[in-house]
């Protein structure tokens, strides 16, 4: 099929960007969205033009590297799908597709569709862990974890840190990302000793990094490729309130 692509091109962080149009023939329905961009880049390179820079790595929907706002939606039109797992069979011959980077104050554009998501790492560094130095652990069965808790912790831990939640949020909030980690670690017994310091540290870092606040719009959960629900934000808010009020 033949597609018209309108892609955000921006040489670097300090240069203004703009949408540029490209026509691409011979797109196969079996291609992934990123493979379609590979084909475009091969063509651009052959024609002596600068290929489009975009982040990607595992192409199995788990590393969280791929991004792209496609026709206004992070990771494109399909629910629970990363861009690398979006296939061209969902498009029709003659379609026009808009492709843009994540847009958020905390995620500055580096080039074209590539943005800097280091702020997420800083949020994790501010408390998104359990302090368990290597070699200090008791036997794994020393502490039992009810299956329901383990499953709920896993569901929250499935976050891939892609940043779609931030790109979807009108406030540019990183709350869903942060809350998924707070919920994961708060749902297992090992995470209890640091539960309050964790949430305070992470929220502080989140705000300092330039992410906006949460106003319960819910766009983040809709955009999340791993279907992490708003309930984790409820958990975050409860934990935060308890932590700042000093209640246990």
């Amino acid at each position: 099929m033949k597609l018209k692509l309108r892609i955000w091109r921006q040489a670097d962080a300090d240069t203004d960007g703009a949408m540029v149009s490209y026509i691409l023939d011979d797109v196969s329905p079996d291609m992934s969205f990123l493979e379609m961009l590979d084909v475009l880049n091969e063509k651009l390179t052959g024609e002596g033009e600068d290929p489009v820079a975009f982040d990607h790595d595992c192409r199995e929907g788990i590393c969280g590297a791929c991004s792209l706002v496609i026709d206004g939606q992070p990771h494109g039109p399909n629910a629970a799908t990363t861009t690398c797992q979006l296939h061209m069979r969902h498009y029709a011959d003659g379609d026009t597709i808009d492709i843009e980077p994540w847009r958020a104050k905390a995620f500055p554009v580096i080039k074209d569709l590539v943005v800097d998501r280091e702020a997420f790492d800083k949020i994790i560094a501010a408390g998104g862990y359990i302090s368990a130095p290597t070699g200090t652990a008791p036997d794994a069965h020393a502490q039992l974890v009810p299956k329901a808790d383990a499953d709920a912790a896993f569901a929250a831990a499935a976050c891939i840190g892609c940043g779609a939640c931030v790109a979807a949020c009108p406030n540019g909030s990183g709350m869903l990302f942060m809350a998924s980690k707070v919920a994961h670690l708060g749902l297992v017994p090992q995470g209890q000793p640091e539960r309050h310091t964790r949430v305070i540290g992470m929220v502080q870092e989140h705000d300092e990094a330039g992410f906006g606040g949460c106003t319960n719009t819910g766009e983040c959960a809709v955009a999340c490729p791993k279907e992490i629900g708003l309930d984790v934000i409820g958990q975050l808010n409860r934990d935060f309130r308890k932590a700042v009020s000093g209640r246990r």
């Binding site: 196969s28 091969e42 192409r59 590297a65 797992q85 069979r89 790492d121 862990y129 974890v145 383990a150």
Partner: protein, 646 residues
């Protein structure tokens, strides 16, 4: 044997592993390795390249010990290393299932599974440490699957008759990596680890024979910088992307290992490539990578093809009596859970007979109809739901209603830089861990053992062995004006300038695809003397064309993804040739290496212990023939036997 392509050097040996009873060797080595007192550790710098299971766990653990750690990864965040994509699980000899497991049995299964081409001492240590790994990960909050009573659940994997695999749904690698990444971030916050993301190591700095640093390129600005330390640890993963199509992430490459190899680090068993039996088949020429379906699917899925070739009917229309459940037929005791090399070759054989299914006949069915009938759809969904969804997304077919189609694909490389028992390469001060080294898997890797090795090396082995080397430090301080540092910097900039100046007419990817096709055809699942000779000639011609006709747009002073790939593909050419030479010289079949000339009457791989029970450690021949050093393998505890899974 043909000496046309290589010369023979002196034999080598691993002199660090203690002798004596195998179950005491690791504790003996830990005791005999010299220590560095906590106050002195602060004066010692260690560079860790890579942030996968091995790199992140090593950097975090070394940071906790008090060393000054500089950590590098080419991804935008350490959390994105390709360990994150491992699905199935991690082995540990906990015997939580009371099914007869033990450290000795895990050791035995792994040595046998590796087709007797791994070191006994290393494998035993891996089995011992496996127990601690699970404890460590649970303490970090890794949400492993649990039973209703709150205890950890297990399942079984290929090559084992016990359930010793711990898992977190189909995303075990992700959860283990997040555990290690969080431990790493904790150390970054504590100031013991300094993290450099979006940086790629392009050269190793060697001064007076010792590894002392790395030259890296900032992938955003293009700036080339030098980082010096007392020791360097490579945790840079495998090189399966030499085949272009593989289950590896797109960025996986061999550059760091290859730069070290060119400076004298031996490259061991490069031709041992694991072909994974359960991948989604190729759909077209546009394809950029292959996706693996977890091996755990074979716990419940049954593998079959039609009994007769050319059967075009839909799976549901083929009656039971006309199906060949060939793994259950040929290997009754392991059935669908035979190891990966066996399952892969069996799939290739039935497809070669013309009985393959799907487009092009390169596929076999992985069928869950029986499991759904026996367990109910809900139970199957709970166990494998995310994998089924992933399959449907990629193929557009619903695996609850029709069987999945699978075909073998390049997955994991068991070869890598040669290391001794301390995980030190043949360059003093250069340590290599995880998939980047060669040491623990032999000629074949069993399921759920790669995650085990990555974390064993990073959390427990390296932090207990590197101190023996660092006890001689801190080494003399170096400046960037040192001659050896300057020459390493110069090597990087001139290679980049060369790649940018060729300005030919072919893209980097077109070369890479062609190289991959050569490798898959002649150095893939089945190799022959004639094919390998042909491949070497083809690779040499293609390499020559690459260096005169590649087109790399843009400059070096910016984010330039074509340039990144060009440097990596340039190294893949040299590696590919060595892989073929290694495959050519090894005139036997074992594990992930099948030489058509060496098979039994019923087409099973035929090992030749008399002549090939050694590690092939290759020394860079300075541009002429590589030099082969042999390390004899000795088996005192698991006597090599015909590897049967029947």
């Amino acid at each position: 044997m043909s000496f046309e392509y290589y010369t023979l050097g002196e034999d080598i040996a691993d002199d660090k592993a203690p002798t004596g009873p195998i179950n005491e060797r690791w504790s003996q080595r830990r005791f005999s390795a010299r220590l560095v007192n906590p106050a002195n550790r602060r004066k010692l710098g260690v560079i860790v390249v890579g942030t996968g299971l091995a790199g992140a766990s090593a950097a975090a653990s070394l940071g906790e010990l008090g060393y000054r750690v500089e950590n590098f990864c080419f991804q935008d965040s350490p959390r994105r290393a390709h360990s994150i994509a491992a699905q199935g699980g991690i082995n540990a000899a906990k015997n939580y299932r009371n099914d007869g497991d033990s450290i000795h049995r895990l050791f035995y299964d792994t040595v046998k599974g590796g087709d007797f081409r791994a070191r006994e001492s290393n494998v035993h240590r891996l089995a011992e440490v496996s127990v601690q790994i699970i404890d460590q990960c649970v303490a970090q909050g890794v949400p492993f699957a649990r039973e209703y009573g709150g205890m950890l659940d297990n399942r079984s994997f290929g090559g084992a008759q016990v359930s010793r695999t711990f898992y977190a749904r189909g995303q075990t690698g992700q959860q283990l990596l997040l555990g290690a990444y969080q431990a790493l971030e904790r150390q970054i916050a504590a100031g013991t680890v300094n993290q450099h993301s979006r940086h790629e190591m392009l050269e190793l700095v060697i001064v007076e024979g010792k590894a002392r640093g790395v030259i890296v390129r900032d992938l955003v600005s293009g700036e080339i910088t030098t980082h010096l330390a007392d020791a360097v640890v490579l945790a840079t993963g495998g090189y399966g992307n030499v085949f272009f199509l593989s289950t590896n992430a797109k960025g996986c490459n061999v550059t760091a290992s290859w730069r070290a190899h060119r400076h004298g680090a031996y490259f061991a068993n490069p031709c041992y490539t694991q072909i994974h039996p359960t991948c989604i088949p190729v759909s077209g020429d546009h394809q950029s990578k292959l996706t693996l379906m977890s091996e755990s699917l074979r716990n419940d899925g049954r593998v079959w093809v039609p009994k007769t070739g050319g059967d075009e009917r839909a799976a549901a229309d083929i009656p039971e009596s006309e199906r060949d459940y060939y793994l259950e037929r040929i290997y009754p005791s392991f059935g669908n859970l035979v190891p990966r090399d066996i399952a892969s070759r069996a799939a290739k054989n039935v497809c070669d007979e013309g009985r393959g299914v799907g487009p092009g006949g390169l596929g076999v069915y992985l069928d869950f109809a029986d499991a759904i009938e026996r367990l109910g759809r809900e139970a199957v969904e709970a166990k494998y739901g995310n994998l089924f969804d992933m399959y449907e997304r990629i193929t557009g077919e619903n695996p609850y209603e029709q069987p999945m189609r699978i075909y073998p694909a390049v997955h994991y490389t068991m070869g890598g830089l040669w290391v001794d028992y301390d995980l030190q390469s043949s360059i003093p001060g250069l340590f290599v861990i995880g998939e980047a080294n060669f040491s623990d898997h032999g000629a074949n890797r069993l399921g759920a053992s790669a995650l085990m090795q990555g974390l064993a090396d990073g959390y427990f082995v390296l932090p207990n062995t590197i101190n023996d080397y660092l006890a001689d430090g801190p080494f003399e301080a170096l400046g960037e004006d040192h001659e050896d540092v300057k020459s390493a910097q110069q090597a990087v900039t001139s290679r980049i300038e060369k790649l940018l100046s060729i300005n030919g007419s072919r893209t980097v990817d077109s070369f890479h695809r062609e190289l991959g096709r050569i490798m898959w055809e002649y150095c893939g699942m089945e190799r022959t003397d004639a094919g390998l000779n042909k491949a070497i000639a083809l690779i040499r011609d293609l390499k020559e064309e690459f260096w005169t006709n590649v087109k790399v747009p843009g400059t070096g002073a910016e984010l330039n993804q074509s340039l990144e790939r060009a440097g990596r593909v340039a190294d893949f050419f040299e590696l590919a040739e060595l892989m073929c030479i290694d495959a050519l010289h090894r005139e036997e079949s074992c594990g992930g290496h099948f030489r058509a000339e060496s098979q039994t009457e019923d087409n099973e791989a035929m090992r030749d212990d008399e002549n090939f029970s050694y590690v092939a450690a290759w020394e860079w021949g300075q541009g002429s023939k590589p030099i082969l050093h042999k390390e004899d393998l000795n088996f005192e505890y698991v006597k090599p036997s015909t590897r049967s899974y029947k």
